[in-house]
Amino acid sequence: WFFPNTTAIPPSLRNTTRVFWDAFSNFTGCHHGQNVDGLFRIKKYFQRFGYIPETYSGNFTDDFDDILKNAVELYQKNFRLNVTGQLDALTIKHIVVPRCGNPDVVNGTSLMHNGRRKTFEVNFSPGGKVPRLHTVKH
């Protein structure tokens, strides 16, 4: 769909509902320890953008566990939000904004922090169950 300008967009298309991510608004306020129906989908979101490693694929539950908490915290750091580890309103608001499909975290390394070429590495324990967040400033 290409439009020369916004006035050329048919009214029916102007306020199209976001298909998937708007539903994430239902998770506003979720925090560690909760079990919320459908929460596994937000884990998939974080995995898509590198916040949860691919090794966790297929094992997502609806538990707000350590995996999700660490992913939320890293996301909040990347986007300079208050690091609460919870899916607070501002974090959800950021999540549903349209974005580039490229990951923010590549091979466990988040490069998205303030400052020139700082990298923050996210290491996960060998057992693959309990992630450990470890930051290294280069």
Binding site: N5, L13, G101, V106
Partner: protein, 199 residues
Amino acid sequence: YTLFPGEPRWPRDRRDLTYAFDPRNPLTDEVKGVFARAFGRWSEVTALNFTNIESFTTSDITIGFYTGDHGDGEPFDGVLGTLAHAFSPPSGKFHLDADENWVVSGDLDSFLSVTAAVDLESVAVHEIGHLLGLGHSSVEESIMYPTITTGKRKVDMTSDDVEGIQYLYGANPNFNGTSPPTATTRERDTGSFGAAARI
């Protein structure tokens, strides 16, 4: 600014890069011109040149609009959500979600009232940054910030973007000054650069 792990970049002997559009996408000259302007913004500040060619199979950079699962393991998700993605050098693959409502003129009039429209040039400039080796930046004003609010146009390089690309490829000898270009959108769109860059 940030770089991909390993700091991949186009090799020294490839500073004149070609780009081509997927022939399955019937794009108008106006749409192609948007990409030309987007490439031009990067070549304005660094020692890279970009030329549109017809051969999709031999081009350094390939651009295509696709829907849903298009074969690279990163399916698009319909309107909004993910808008586009691009691969790090020297892959050159640049994919955009064909389901989006792409605005190609750069016209901002009444744009803010439209919640489901995305400025094509803004996304193109961002993705070209990936094609050249830049990762996502946490500087919200920068081109390489991962998100873009609908109804917004963001095509101006910030010092963060300029420093990043010049770290990888050096500065354009004709780029005088260390600060990013400050021309307004209207100046650019009606100036000699915008017109000359159109295919």
